[in-house]
């Protein structure tokens, strides 16, 4: 009997089983306009992503004497929204504590955090583990989520990658609101861990609380990993390892998988089990695909928390909470079920529409105008995506409004424009968001002629042309291909405005009868 886990890269001796246990600490940078405790801009807000170093600082950020922090209401509400989405118990009373932190990237020498009264308590997240929205989920229990502040950036090489024998600091990130979400050790495979991370990211992005750009460190993952081994009726638990600061799903997957094998191997060699010392920390070497030992920072865990005397406690009233509950947007898992089930979209269309919350909102705004869900999705994902790719701009930022999209769909549905005209019209709307598609179609002669009388005149002219006699004969003898040349001439005659469908019917009728 060997281990049932496919993630384990080694064979276990007979009679031995190994079960992976992973919990997560996730740091989410909230995308408020301003920092957590002062009004300078927040580098995690899209408007300030690329701010020059040390331009987002004020006396509070610098920890100058005599300053007072004041909490950002929006950061509190964003934290509560995440808590509600995760089914967390929201604290009715919460406060902030100082965590001693002597490090040059946070100059006041403490981090404002929450120790014993986090804003969000126990919750659960059902994590989809297959593509089927009605398929099985993995239940991961949330332990807590608390609102704290990020530190600045410590750089060990000069901009451009030059080696320096000192360190330099950019404090733009210092004071960014940071929500730390902690789970119970409920995940049992690298796949489940990554599925949790992705699901959490989707939720946070759809709630609008973070941009969630991993490369920018806006969500950072720290798996806590150990292994429960059974042998000869005995249970052994390997010491817990925390892998620090991962900012890609690939790194999360790789580090969990590597630790599983590494810990089992270590146990087979040393028999070492979980002891007094809480846990050790390791880093992730992306190039080598292994976790690496990290020098334990001396006294790192002597945080000496105490209530921050500069900040007063916060009471969350029933009224405030129910207001926020009422404002909760639909979560991505629910949307996915609705798009696949009620709308009948295919999985690919569904994923594309839900991958970018801005696009999701745009699509739903089109639907709110009364558009057909499938037709709107198909039109946006064909015509819209094509232009978005060409221009290198997200679809929902191309300029066209949801009302205009609905307008084009209406023109298509009533046969007033053909599909190629609709595509041109889409482009025209992007450049003229104030003008109705119908007016634009009129102005640019894109409306197609569906009036049978007018079309009949075009058809008759072409059929009467002696040079077409051969094609008409072919058609009468059942050579259907011959119709193409005739239609082409009719379309040309109408300057492309004839309704091709009606023209085709007319030609068929007339040649059959003639």
């Amino acid at each position: 009997m060997t281990s049932a886990s496919p993630a384990l890269d080694i064979d276990l001796p007979n009679g031995t089983t190994a079960r992976l246990m992973v919990g997560l600490e996730v740091h989410v940078e909230l995308a408020t306009k301003t920092k957590n405790f002062t009004s300078t801009p927040n580098v995690a807000n899209r408007g300030y992503f690329d701010a020059e170093p040390n331009t987002l600082c004020d006396p509070v950020v610098l920890g100058l004497p005599g300053v007072l922090p004041v909490i950002n209401r929006e950061a509190v509400e964003m934290s509560i929204r995440v808590g509600l989405a995760l089914g967390c118990e929201i604290a009715r009373h919460t406060k902030w504590d100082r965590k001693s932190y002597y490090y040059p990237d946070l100059p006041k020498n403490y981090q404002i955090s929450q120790y014993d009264e986090p804003i969000c308590g126990e919750g659960t997240l059902e994590v989809p583990i297959t593509d089927d929205p009605t398929g099985p989920t993995k239940r991961v229990r949330i332990m807590r989520a608390h609102l704290e502040e990020d530190a600045g950036k410590l750089l060990h090489e000069a901009p451009g990658g030059y080696a320096i024998d000192y360190s330099i600091i950019d404090l733009n990130r210092a004071g960014t609101p940071l929500l730390e979400i902690v789970t119970h050790p409920d995940m049992g495979s690298p796949e489940e861990v990554v599925a949790f991370c992705k699901t959490l990211r989707d939720i946070c992005r759809h709630l609008g609380v973070t941009e969630g750009i991993l490369q920018r460190g806006q969500m950072r993952f720290e798996p806590n990993i150990n292994v429960v081994i059974h042998r000869d009726g005995q249970t052994y638990k390997t010491p817990i390892v925390e892998v620090k600061n991962l900012n890609s799903f690939k790194a999360v997957y790789g580090s969990v998988k590597h630790e599983f094998t590494r810990q089992v191997e270590e146990w087979l060699q040393t028999g070492r089990v979980m002891g007094q010392r809480a846990k050790s920390t390791r880093g992730w070497d992306d190039a080598k695909g292994v976790t690496t030992h990290q020098r334990h920072k001396e006294d790192a865990d002597e945080y000496r928390y105490f209530p921050d005397p500069d900040l007063v406690p916060l009471n969350v009233s029933e009224a405030w909470l129910s207001e926020m509950q009422a404002d909760m947007p639909e979560l991505p898992a629910v949307k996915r079920r609705r798009y696949l089930g009620e709308f009948g979209l295919d999985a690919k269309a569904c994923d594309t529409l839900l991958d970018e919350p801005g696009l999701t909102r745009f699509y739903e705004a089109v639907l709110a105008q009364g558009a057909d869900a499938r037709k709107a999705a198909a039109f946006l994902l064909n015509t819209g995506s094509k232009r978005a790719n060409d221009q290198g701009v997200p679809l929902h930022e191309l300029g066209i409004t949801p009302t205009q999209v609905k307008g084009i769909l209406d023109l298509l549905a009533s046969d007033k424009v053909g599909s190629s005209a609709a595509e041109q019209l889409f482009g025209l709307c992007c450049d003229n968001p104030e003008v109705s598609p119908e007016a634009l179609a009129n102005k640019h002669n894109l409306l197609q002629v569906s009036d049978t009388g007018a079309l009949e005149a075009f058809v008759d002219r072409v059929l009467a042309d002696p040079k077409n006699a051969r094609a008409i004969d072919d058609l009468k003898q059942g050579k259907d291909k011959a119709i193409g040349a005739l239609i082409g001439q009719i379309m040309k005659l109408s300057k492309g405005q004839a309704n091709a469908k009606i023209v085709t019917e007319l030609v068929k009728k007339k040649t059959a009868a003639g």
Partner: protein, 107 residues
């Protein structure tokens, strides 16, 4: 501070440990001096234990205030010159410090 109750003595090891956490370099004389002083301070602070707090809710703050929040409205920060003005060392636009290894512990 003369009538405080006798207090557990503070050992030199404890003083050195606290000094290290606070990034303070103390001479042997100072260690001895602070061992005595800290014992006095703690003894004084323990007077608060004489209060009868039965039935009093624990407080997180001395003032009876709560829910002091600000709206999420931007005020631009200081110029880089001002930001760096008090820095012991700088390499504009950055602060410059002795080489630090590893990541921060807190965030």
């Amino acid at each position: 501070m003369s009538e405080q109750p006798p207090n557990e003595p503070i050992t030199a090891e404890q003083v050195k440990h606290v000094a290290k956490l606070a990034r303070l370099a103390l001479s042997p004389d100072q260690v001895e001096h602070h061992a005595r002083k800290l014992a006095n301070v703690l003894g004084y602070a323990e007077k608060i234990g004489q209060l009868n707090v039965e039935g009093v809710e624990p407080m997180a703050h001395a003032m009876d205030l709560s829910n002091v929040m600000r709206e999420d409205k931007v005020n631009e920060g200081l110029s880089v010159d001002k930001v760096l003005a008090n820095a012991p060392d700088k390499e504009p636009p950055f602060f410059k410090v002795v080489k630090v290894l590893g990541e921060g512990a807190g965030a």
